[in-house]
């Protein structure tokens, strides 16, 4: 792998909270520009913490996290985070929610409106600008949350189980749309999930993490062709990979027990 194409690098990263037992140990990985990486593992394996380390929301106890050659804090402008919950401000309508990141950065109104319109079009919510979060379905709220992250034109998108609370249908649709948006924008993605099928469908690479402490136990490349569609889910290659990742995940769970 050429160093020039690396955008996120973790070297020997460990994390424990306030003298407690290690949550993550000895994490080293490199992600290429434009790569889609998923983390999957049992509950409490520290996969969300790993994402938060890359986001700069928390600091590593040992080791080094580099984002675009800088610390996560220095690279904050390149990063966007999509939380497990939609985390919308309930007192703002869709338009104002999507504009929040721009507003906090003091971007002028005209540019804000342009970013907002483009982002809402991408997630298929053009026309819903004046709706309030409580009037939207779970899937629509998640789309707004995604649109908000996209207004910043991030180089790196961090997604922490964003579709976990959705029903199967909305979930699969959003996965397909997420990949379609990525095809247009080319950001690098890190995706935390509990679902093997989701990890395989979305990713170029899946890391299986063990618990207590969280370690990278397996790395599975996913060489499925793009664009991936509903058809992809029916293909033999896809299903073989799901079986493969499931086996690795099961091995980790036995290992932890």
């Amino acid at each position: 792998m050429h160093p020039a194409s690396a955008i996120v690098e973790l070297r020997g990263v460990a994390k424990n909270f306030g003298g407690g037992p290690p949550v993550l140990a000895d994490i080293s990985l490199t992600a290429r520009r434009g790569e889609f990486t998923s983390f999957i593992g049992p509950s409490g394996c520290g996969k969300s913490t790993l994402l938060r380390l890359i986001a700069g929301l928390t600091d590593a106890t040992a080791g080094e996290v580099r984002v675009d050659g800088r610390t996560p804090a220095q690279a904050a402008a390149e990063l966007a985070f999509v939380f497990q919950e939609p985390t919308l401000l309930p007192w703002l309508n869709v338009a104002h929610n999507v504009e929040i990141p721009d507003k906090l950065r003091g971007i002028p109104a005209a540019a804000r409106a342009a970013h907002r319109a483009a982002a809402l079009a991408l997630v298929g919510l053009a026309g819903r600008e004046s709706a309030y979060p409580r009037q939207l379905s779970g899937g629509q709220k998640m789309r707004v949350s995604l649109a908000r992250a996209l207004t910043l034109a991030p180089k790196i998108l961090l997604l922490d189980e964003p579709f976990g609370a959705l029903d199967e249908m909305s979930r699969e649709r959003l996965q397909e749309e997420l990949l379609a948006i990525r095809a247009q924008q080319g950001w690098t993605a890190f995706f935390v999930t509990h679902s093997v099928a989701e990890a395989v469908f979305l990713s170029d690479r899946v890391f299986v993490i063990s618990a207590q402490p969280g370690r990278l136990r397996a790395e599975i490349a996913v060489p499925l062709a793009s664009p991936r569609t509903a058809e992809t889910r029916l293909s033999r290659d896809y299903q073989d990979l799901v079986v493969e990742v499931t086996r690795r995940l099961r091995a980790v769970k036995t290992f932890a027990a």
Binding site: F81, Q84, T87, W91, L104, P133
Partner: protein, 263 residues
């Protein structure tokens, strides 16, 4: 039965029933004891007869109540912002606020009258003291309990502390603030009447409702005393209704418990 009838008709019905029972009980009392419990019709008559005096007193009391209430809103909000902005400020002062909340303000009324003078100044000061604590406690609670993920979102986007306060914490605290405001609105007329009861007498201009209560009580005009209480209730009702309307206007579009049920 449509909801509207349910919510209007039933209370009217139960009120009328209570009114009738009360009137009958009074008629059953023998002549010598009738003064002990004024009959509702006698109270209504007193309300009519004393209206010129009572309405004037009500205006005086309303003035004190509103002034103290407004002062409490402004000062408690400012203090809540300070308390919410740093953990050390909260740790240093919050316990004492809780303690002060337990303090029976009424005990200090004689001193307060000496400090600020009788009449409107002391009436509004007492109202202020009674309204202040529920407001500051609720608002502070609201400001510090903004959703943790939303706070992280703001930090992620490198929001300044000012932005975090005004764009996140203050709007998130509004439902809590309005809870405090509703409590304070019920307390304000009571505070003003209590203040007026002990500090309004020498105010000139006939004093407020509390002062009328002192006079009616000492001259055994009990129907008029009940009428005074009714006017105080009405004052509180108007203030609470105004607060509810304001909260509906502010929170109606986004907050679940205030939102219109039909959408």
């Amino acid at each position: 039965m449509p909801r509207r009838y349910y919510n209007v008709l039933l209370p009217l019905l139960s009120g009328a029933l209570a009114f009738a029972v009360w009137q009958v009980v009074c008629l059953l009392l023998d002549e010598d004891h009738r003064f002990l419990l004024p009959a509702p019709l006698a109270v209504l008559a007193a309300l009519r007869d004393e209206w010129p005096v009572l309405s004037h007193a009500a205006l005086n009391t309303a003035q004190g109540a509103l002034l103290g209430f407004a002062l409490a809103v402004v000062i408690s909000f400012t203090l809540a912002l300070a308390l919410a902005s740093a953990r050390w400020v909260r740790a240093s002062f919050y316990p004492y606020l809780m303690l002060l909340q337990m303090t029976p303000v009424i005990l200090f009324v004689p001193m307060l009258v000496i400090w600020v003078g009788p009449g409107l100044p002391s009436v509004s000061l007492i109202t202020f003291l009674i309204c202040f604590f529920p407001l500051v406690v609720n608002t502070t609670q609201g400001l510090v309990s903004a959703d943790r993920l939303l706070v992280e979102l703001f930090r992620m986007y490198r929001a300044t502390r000012w932005q975090e306060m005004w764009r996140l914490r203050v709007p998130a605290a509004l439902p809590y603030f309005f809870t405090g405001l509703r409590i304070a609105a019920t307390l304000a007329p009571i505070g003003a009447v209590v203040g007026d009861y002990s500090a309004g007498s020498s105010a000139g201009d006939g004093g407020g409702l509390g002062f009328r209560a002192v006079i009616y009580g000492s001259t055994a005009k009990y129907p008029a005393l009940f009428a005074t209480a009714a006017v105080t209730c009405a004052l509180g009702f108007v203030l609470v209704a105004a607060v509810l309307a304001l909260s509906q206007l502010t929170l109606g579009r986004w907050h679940d418990s205030y939102a219109q049920k039909d959408n």
